[in-house]
Symmetry: C2
Subunit: 339 residues, 2 copies
Amino acid sequence: MSQANSLGSQRSSTTLKNKLPAIGIDLGGTKLSAAAIVDFKVVSEARTVPTPQGPDKIVAALVSLIESFQREYVVAGVGIATAGIVNCDTGEVIGSTGNLPGWSGTPLKQLIESKTMLPVFVDNDANAAAYGDALAMGLTDATCVIGVTLGTGIGTGIVIHGKPYRGSNWGAGECGHIRINLENKRLCTCGKYDCWEAYGAGRGLVATTHDLLAQAGAKDSVLSENAQGLNSHLITSAAAGGDKLAKEAVNLYHQHVSIGLANLANCLAPEYFILSGGMSKVVDVQLLGEMVRERALPRNADKLQVVKSSLGDFAGIVGAAQCALDGIAPGTTLNTGTG
Amino acid sequence: MSQANSLGSQRSSTTLKNKLPAIGIDLGGTKLSAAAIVDFKVVSEARTVPTPQGPDKIVAALVSLIESFQREYVVAGVGIATAGIVNCDTGEVIGSTGNLPGWSGTPLKQLIESKTMLPVFVDNDANAAAYGDALAMGLTDATCVIGVTLGTGIGTGIVIHGKPYRGSNWGAGECGHIRINLENKRLCTCGKYDCWEAYGAGRGLVATTHDLLAQAGAKDSVLSENAQGLNSHLITSAAAGGDKLAKEAVNLYHQHVSIGLANLANCLAPEYFILSGGMSKVVDVQLLGEMVRERALPRNADKLQVVKSSLGDFAGIVGAAQCALDGIAPGTTLNTGTG
């Protein structure tokens, strides 16, 4: 059991003592965040570095981050949650995102495994976050849990019967691109009009506020002085300060978010929506829940819970690491089965 | 093997010879349709009776229909596909539909089992139809197949990894009530505005045509003479005859159907949409497929197939009967395991 001693001082239970951690890494457009995970619990401090430009430098930064953990821990494996669509069997990034130019086509699992000699699992960040959040809430027996990341876009991850649901072609959970309007009013980053995220993501709140400012009588708002530099922080702050137009914008924003949630409730009848991402920190989760229950069919609304993530920014790290641990044969850990 | 001889003359393979059929029944607002099913194949003629008024009379009609099969077949069990939401564990109707007043609360499985002494399985009609269609197309290995019934409403059934997905509270697949517009333009039968089925069901086509007729220049259309009595048959006939307004209405109808399909494609990334119901007989399935692929994210559109049901009106019958057969222990059939 000498290897287990190198787990470090963060271990807090006898269960953890006998198990090796996986390193979970959340790979976003601006930063790489990592932590050591055992039994879907964070057992180290988080380590963060800026995301470098280009696939080669990103891979080098990932390896460097993993090695920094290997100097302190005996690591069982690595789970990486990345923006973009991922083939989880091969660990290849097969669909890119604007935040990571040139990332599509990267055989990430193969590259990191060959450089670290560790088993690596790669998943889409929203899928990993939903899985991490569902595990952290003990919802492995739930029929369906949907994680919704409300940020500059909307990402969703669907967990069915305790496992991430990835669809054919690995493309499930792109629910931010459900169309919720027919009027061709708002162009989405995907190139189509009127996707849910064009209304329910942070930039949706900004667009809604611009719409209101363009209407008559908007000059009373403190936001009219700063219309060019609007962002979601300015708007929610103005609403908190009592600005009537900002309050109306924030209320409309809640309605827009709730429409997408109610659509998913009618489609998949989940027990839980778990919200994460920057905008989740400013939404009124109780109001959202009421709006969803008002809109969804009664049968799908009765017991539905809308809650905020208990893991916050760690959700993707935990979910990806746990996927790695799920895929590692029991013999590769020090768990002797005696707990 | 004397019991197997009573299967009747429709059996056509050695596989069928050794197995007892289940009776599948599709219970709709206007008629009860039934047939004998073995290995998700129809092995009898269909029998149809009008749906009587009220739960007691419906149950009596179901029993009478089942007994009519029992006079000719040794029956392994009964599968009933009914409108409304069903708890498939208890076989109770837990959510009703306007077409079957008073139906909610009926303990259908228990009532039919006590009167026929046969094992009974009950499911929602759209779920059963999707399962039947997926089985008939051999799609048990598919990640996701979505059956879409385009009728006076839109019903959907989701089959994931070869099994019906019913969600928590049994309410999944109410995708007809996904909101696709923000303008509060069309009131749906569910009491909310702008559900997919308010645009994509048969009455959606009628509403779209009324919208066009209300616009300037509509007097040229043959439909303007009969605006009060419009129905989907009149509209599609006029379009087939070259009427410009009717053609525009039918094209808009295809767009409205495709928006809901693309939403589901982005959410669940299915391999197949299988269309059934009265309106599926008049849609251009190739045009729908193109529109869905145009709207959905490329990854979710690439290999997506939109097809018409090969079972047609038998889909619910086959799916419900097969669910009954799935749930019956092997010992209750005459299949000796030697094929």
